[in-house]
C-alpha cells in the first residue's frame, strides 16, 4: 500500500484521537474532531489512503476503540510509530487498520509519500528515495488485516465450525 503522510509527535493519546466530550456522537461526527487539539485541519483535510506517522507511544491512554476507528473512518490506511499504546495496537488490528512499529520515523516528514510492505514491515520513502525498516507484523495479526478485522475473521471461523 502507499499513501501520503500526516506526521505527529510523541504520546498522541486516545483522548486527543477520540475526545470524550464527543464520544456519544455517531462515528462520522466523532471523527470530525479527531486530533483537533493538536492539528485542527487534520479531520477535514486527510484523504483516503493517507498514512499517519506518530512518535513513541502512539495511541496511549484509554481502551476506547473509537481512537482507532476514527482514523479508519477518515480513510487512514496505516499508522507507523516507534511504539504504540498496547490497547490501541490491538484495537487497530481488530478493526483491520495495520499498525507498524518502526524506529526509522526520523526519515519521514509530513506530506512524504510512502510505500509499505505489510508482510515484511519494509517501508519505502518515495519522496526521498530511501528504504526504511519496520517490524514484520506477527502472523496472527496479519490474518486479521487480511480478513478486514476481527469481526469478518470470526465470521469465517464461526461459520466453518
Amino acid at each position: 500500500m502507499s499513501g501520503r503522510v500526516w506526521k505527529f509527535g510523541d504520546d498522541v493519546n486516545t483522548d486527543v484521537l477520540a475526545p470524550g466530550i464527543y464520544i456519544k456522537l455517531p462515528i462520522d461526527e466523532l471523527a470530525s474532531h479527531c486530533l483537533e487539539a493538536v492539528e485542527p485541519n487534520f479531520a477535514s483535510s486527510v484523504a483516503e489512503g493517507d498514512i499517519v506517522v506518530g512518535g513513541k507511544n502512539f495511541g496511549m491512554g484509554s481502551s476506547r476503540e473509537q481512537a482507532a476507528q476514527v482514523l479508519k473512518e477518515l480513510g487512514v490506511a496505516a499508522v507507523i510509530a516507534p511504539s504504540f499504546g498496547g490497547i490501541f495496537y490491538r484495537n487497530a488490528f481488530n478493526l483491520g487498520l495495520p499498525a507498524i512499529v518502526s524506529d526509522d520515523i526520523g526519515k519521514i516528514d509530513d506530506k512524504h509519500e510512502l510505500k509499505i510492505d505489510l508482510k515484511t514491515g519494509g517501508i519505502q520513502n518515495m519522496t526521498t528515495g530511501t528504504e526504511l525498516t519496520g517490524e514484520a507484523i506477527p502472523d496472527n495479526l496479519l490474518a486479521l488485516v487480511e480478513a478486514g478485522g476481527l469481526v469478518p475473521y470470526l465470521e469465517i471461523k464461526l461459520n466453518k465450525k
Partner: protein, 421 residues
C-alpha cells in the same frame, strides 16, 4: 527457571506447564468485565451480525458507570440498551449505577488470585491488586472474548518495581504512582507486565494497592500485579469470593525479571502532575503555582473509601476556599454507604463539597461535573490528558486526595503536610 505470578497465570490460562517471554499464546478467559461505554452498545451490532450470544453469562460482569446518571437522551439511550442487553444475554452479574467497574467488580467478590481476566477499560490492571492477570481491551477484542471465551496474548516481559521504607503522613499510594510515571515515563511499562514488590507494598491495604495497579496504565503497562498474600486472601474472602490456592500464584524466588527498578517510600513527597500528562509529576513544592477552579475527588483511582477518608482527615473543621468548588464522586454505592456511616460524608459536605452520585462522573468527560473552557481542575483521578474532563481548552492537575483536599481549603496547590503538621 522459576516463574513470576504473571507467567504462572498466563501458563495456567493457556493450559501449559510454563510460558516463555515473547510467545503468542491463546488463553481461556476466567472473567470478562464490561461497562456501558465500551460494552453492549459497541458489541451488540457485531454479535447480531455473527448470529451468536455470549459464551458464558456467568463469567461476565457488566457495570453501568460511565454515562451515569444520564444527562441527556443519548446517554439515557445508552443505558437503556445496556439494560436490555443484560436481560437478553442473561447477565446475572449486572450492577446498574452501583459505582465504577474497577471498584465494584472486586467489591462484589468477582476477582481472585490466579484469574486471567480482561476488562473493556484501560484501567483494568486494577485487578492485579487481587493477584489476577487483568488487562484492558477494546470493544472488538472484547467481542471476540464474549463469543469465544478466549483471547491471544504475547507473553510479556516482567518489570519488577521494588518499594522500600514507609511513607510519612500526608503521602499515599497515589504519590507512589505519580512518582513512577514521572521517573519511568508513560511508556516505562512498554505494554509489559509490572510487578510491584517490597515491604512498602506488603504493608499497603487493598485499596491503596488498587490505586497502584490502576495506574500501571499510566506506565503504559499491560498489567500491574501484586503477588497475592494474606491481605489479598482476607479481602477476597470478606467480599464473598474464594481466594483459592493463592500461594500457588506467588512468584518463585528464582524467577527472572527483565529489569528491576527501586524506589524509597521514606523520602517520598506528595506529588502533583501538571497538564497534560501524569508523567509531568513533581514534588508538590516544585510545581509552579496555578489558579484552580474545580477540586475533584473522584474516579476508581481516587474516590475509594480510604481516599474519601484521606480527604476528610484534612477537611475536618475546615472549609473550601471562597470562590472555589470541591466536587466529590464516591467510587461506589457501598463506599458511599460506609462513608456515610463513618461520618466521612458529613465532614466533606460541611466543608462545602458538592456530592455527585457514584460513577465515573467528570473523570472521562462523559458524565456529570465536567469543566468549562479554560477551567483548571486539581483531581484525584488517574489521567490529565488535554480536554479529558470537558472542554478541550480545560486543564487538569493530578494529586492524591490529601493534596486535593488541602489545596481546596487553601484555594491553590498546597502541600498537605503543612496542614497535617
Amino acid at each position: 527457571m522459576g516463574q513470576t505470578t504473571a507467567e504462572k497465570i498466563i501458563a495456567n490460562a493457556a493450559g501449559q506447564e510454563s510460558v516463555q517471554v515473547g510467545d503468542i499464546v491463546t488463553c481461556a478467559v476466567d472473567l470478562a468485565m464490561i461497562h456501558d461505554s465500551g460494552g453492549p452498545r459497541r458489541v451488540k451490532p457485531a454479535m447480531e451480525k455473527l448470529g451468536v450470544g455470549v459464551w458464558d453469562p456467568d463469567k461476565i460482569v457488566l457495570i453501568s458507570d460511565h454515562f451515569v446518571p444520564c444527562t441527556d437522551a443519548e446517554s439515557a439511550n445508552i443505558l437503556k440498551l445496556t439494560r436490555e442487553w443484560a436481560a437478553e444475554q442473561n447477565i446475572a452479574n449486572f450492577y446498574d449505577q452501583q459505582g465504577i467497574c474497577h471498584v465494584v467488580t472486586p467489591e462484589r467478590g468477582h476477582l481472585r488470585p490466579g484469574m486471567f481476566a480482561v476488562g473493556g477499560d484501560s484501567h483494568s490492571p486494577t485487578g492485579g491488586a487481587f493477584g489476577s492477570y487483568m488487562f484492558g481491551i477494546g470493544a472488538t477484542d472484547m467481542l471476540g472474548v464474549l463469543v469465544t471465551g478466549e483471547t491471544w496474548i504475547k507473553v510479556p516481559d516482567i518489570i519488577r518495581i521494588i518499594w522500600s521504607g514507609r511513607f510519612g503522613a500526608g503521602v499515599a499510594a497515589k504519590d507512589m504512582a505519580l512518582k513512577m510515571s514521572a521517573t519511568l515515563g508513560m511508556d516505562g511499562g512498554g505494554y509489559q507486565a509490572v510487578q510491584y514488590s517490597g515491604e512498602t507494598i506488603e504493608n499497603l491495604e487493598m485499596m491503596e494497592r488498587m490505586t497502584l495497579c490502576n495506574m500501571a496504565a499510566e506506565l503504559g503497562a499491560q498489567a500491574g500485579l501484586i503477588e497475592p498474600d494474606e491481605t489479598t486472601a482476607a479481602y477476597v474472602t470478606a467480599a464473598g469470593g474464594d481466594p483459592g490456592n493463592w500461594q500457588a500464584f506467588r512468584s518463585d524466588a528464582d524467577a527472572e525479571y527483565k529489569v528491576t527498578h527501586e524506589f524509597d517510600a521514606g523520602d517520598l513527597a506528595p506529588q502533583v502532575a501538571a497538564p497534560h500528562s501524569p508523567a509531568n509529576a513533581a514534588d508538590v513544592g516544585d510545581v509552579e503555582p496555578a489558579e484552580i477552579d474545580q477540586f475533584y475527588i473522584g474516579a476508581c483511582t481516587g474516590a475509594k473509601l480510604n481516599d474519601l477518608k484521606m480527604a476528610a482527615s484534612i477537611l475536618k473543621g475546615n472549609s473550601v476556599a471562597t470562590g472555589k468548588r470541591l466536587t466529590v464522586a464516591p467510587a461506589s454505592s457501598r463506599i458511599l454507604t460506609q462513608a456515610t456511616k463513618d461520618g466521612v460524608i458529613e465532614i466533606l459536605l460541611e466543608a462545602g463539597a458538592s456530592l455527585l452520585p457514584p460513577g465515573c462522573g467528570a473523570c472521562a468527560g462523559y458524565g456529570v461535573g465536567v469543566l468549562a473552557e479554560d477551567e483548571v481542575c486539581l483531581a484525584s483521578t488517574a489521567r490529565n490528558f488535554q480536554g479529558r474532563m470537558g472542554a478541550s481548552t480545560s486543564k487538569i492537575y493530578l494529586a492524591s486526595p490529601y493534596t486535593v483536599a488541602a489545596s481546596a481549603v487553601a484555594g491553590h496547590i498546597t502541600d498537605p503536610r503543612e496542614v497535617i503538621n
